[in-house]
Symmetry: C2
Subunit: 372 residues, 2 copies
């Protein structure tokens, strides 16, 4: 069963609207020009009735119904999902059969064949098939549902920086160490960081409950599950697998080490790359400068580089500490210039995990399908 | 002019005794068996008269005299210096001429030819020449001064982990990203982290004064000066230069990215290595296990790995996240075992910056010269 196509303004649902990502989705919808669209906010029963500010008005949070017979499936065109994998899996079949396009921030369908995994600046072409089918259906007075997956936050931020370089000279291998913020674990992670930090400052005992390691002036290996065979945790494996899918490449080589640091929001990544073809720092800067969604902050003389606070609440992925990796030069003691051809480079990347790492990317996918 | 050799118990001065490193030096002296030795504590005039607890007694802080005619130069045998490069440079000539051995935690003489740069577990042989000269002088009833430099904290911590692996299979190249604590910038750095973090938690404006970047739930590129040509800051260059000197190797290849994170004390380092000869994870674990001063914390099943809080106040360098770097395997999708020969590995290292990164290493150097 499918609904008739909606009027000119697509109807949008934000599912998980009161969570850390959901709230940012509403901000991004407003910022991307969806302020006057019919937007509904859904969350679990304990948040029902809450008022969320949106584009000068107020949205009343509705209880989310995840049953296959749920009414909303026939009343919205796009659902931005920020409610976790299990809910995404539960509703996917019924919602898409009803003609809803799910833009899913969870990991539920990212690696499912046929489900596009999209960063609009990088692989908008992966949406082409779905767009064509919807257009054809609309001509026949019906609509077609589907799923588009939002990649993992640390993958999005990494690829925003690496893709222009990859296009320039092919990234053969990358060594990535992350500095991931509390926001990646949602509001509970941020609350625990604040609570335990205050306990530490007051000289009180630390009472971790959400993370197993005490999260006050302390960092720890990412809390996702680890593959005991490879020694990679899920966050690290995602970086590898999702990059391969987004780049449509079967030869991605990434060594990733994912670490949670006591930062509130915005992930940082220290990245060392090896390129297939020699290029110069000048050409890398040019390639990055002409790529949308990137801002270079890289002033060696004043030690001014990207930081999480500079990235927080912003839309751009910040890039700095750009330099030739002398350890990959024939003579590691040489002093390279901006025009020295090299295959090894270092860079430091910071992006707001809740924005480009999640909500903003989802709204950009929406904009690619249904411009505001 | 030189003093007669001291009695059986060498007389020790701690210079900069009220600073973050100086206080740890007193703790380490006590721990390493120097509690009953004649120990004097020196600091700047504003700390004079302070009482510092030491081995069940109390040391009265004396004003440090940095003049070439200073009396202390004829009254102590060993001076542990934790007062900054400029003071080290100012007193070095007169103090060593007077027969004092300076164990210097500053960077003043680390790269000076002829000055040993020592991590006792790694290159105790670099002390042999000085020990021989002192022994010969003592036989003639005199004493010989000298300088031994304590390496930079992040270098010590890195090399504690890499040296056993280097001996096993030669580290050809390392990519290092650091997560450095406030303590590396001394008490002022730690105070600023505490102050600004409280401001952030209370919703007040942040007032950075010591660091240029706001240090509350935020991280930034290391605050040391940057070489605008290479793009490496001093901290990163130290890691390269000091490793070459400690390992006595002219072919050290390290890509270092040094980042200050909002952790109070204990530095962490994410390290990716490429070895000259293939080896196995099992052999790396064995080599690390039999090296003194190292503790392996590496339980994949329970996600238990080194953290700064686990390392703080302890003497060991903690190592975990040990794994084969699949990106350096012929087939990056293979699942290596503990016995798969490989040349690429990852590890995560944490060490107390004030202990093994500074005070403890200095006291271990003292112990190598004058066992308690």
């Amino acid at each position: 069963m499918s609904n008739p196509p909606s009027s000119s303004r697509p109807r949008i649902a934000v599912i998980g609207a009161t969570g850390a990502v959901g709230r940012e989705m509403l901000l991004c919808l407003e910022q991307w020009g969806y302020g006057q669209h019919p937007v509904r906010a859904f969350a679990s029963p304990r948040s029902a009735g809450q008022q969320l500010p949106f584009a000068g008005r107020s949205l009343t949070v509705e209880v989310f119904d995840d049953a296959p017979t749920a009414k909303w499936m026939h009343q919205v065109d796009f659902a931005l999902l920020a409610a976790g994998s299990s809910i995404s899996k539960k509703i996917a079949s019924a919602a898409t059969s009803s003609g809803v396009i799910l833009i899913d921030n969870s990991s539920a369908f990212r690696m499912t064949p046929g489900v596009p995994l999209v960063v609009p600046e990088i692989n908008p072409d992966h949406l082409a098939d779905l767009i064509a089918k919807r257009t054809a259906a609309a001509k026949q007075g019906s609509r077609i549902g589907g799923i588009i997956a939002n990649p993992n936050c640390s993958t999005i931020i990494l690829l925003m920086a690496l893709t222009p370089i990859h296009k320039l000279a092919t990234v053969q291998r990358a060594v990535v160490s992350t500095y991931q913020a509390a926001s990646g674990a949602g509001a509970q992670g941020m609350d625990e960081l604040a609570l335990l930090t205050r306990q530490a400052l007051d000289g009180n005992p630390l009472t971790p409950s959400f993370f197993t390691e005490p999260y006050a002036f302390n960092l720890f290996s990412h809390n996702s599950q680890m593959d005991v065979q490879t020694g990679a945790n899920v966050e690290e494996q995602k970086m590898l697998d999702e990059t391969a899918k987004i780049w449509a490449s079967d030869d991605v080589r990434i060594s990733a080490t994912c670490i949670r640091v006591p930062v509130m929001r915005a992930h940082s990544e220290s990245v060392n790359i090896t390129l297939k073809s020699p290029t110069t720092l000048r050409d890398i800067r040019l390639a990055l400068s002409s790529f949308p969604g990137i801002k270079i902050i890289d002033d060696r003389a004043t030690n001014t580089f990207p930081t999480p606070l500079k990235a927080s609440g912003g839309n751009d992925v910040l890039i700095g500490r750009l330099r030739v990796d002398r350890s990959q030069l024939p003579d590691p003691c040489a002093t390279p210039t901006d025009d020295t051809p090299a295959t090894g480079f270092d860079l430091f990347i910071v992006g707001d995990q809740l924005r480009k790492g999640a909500a903003q990317n989802a709204v950009q996918i929406l904009a690619a399908l249904a411009p505001a």
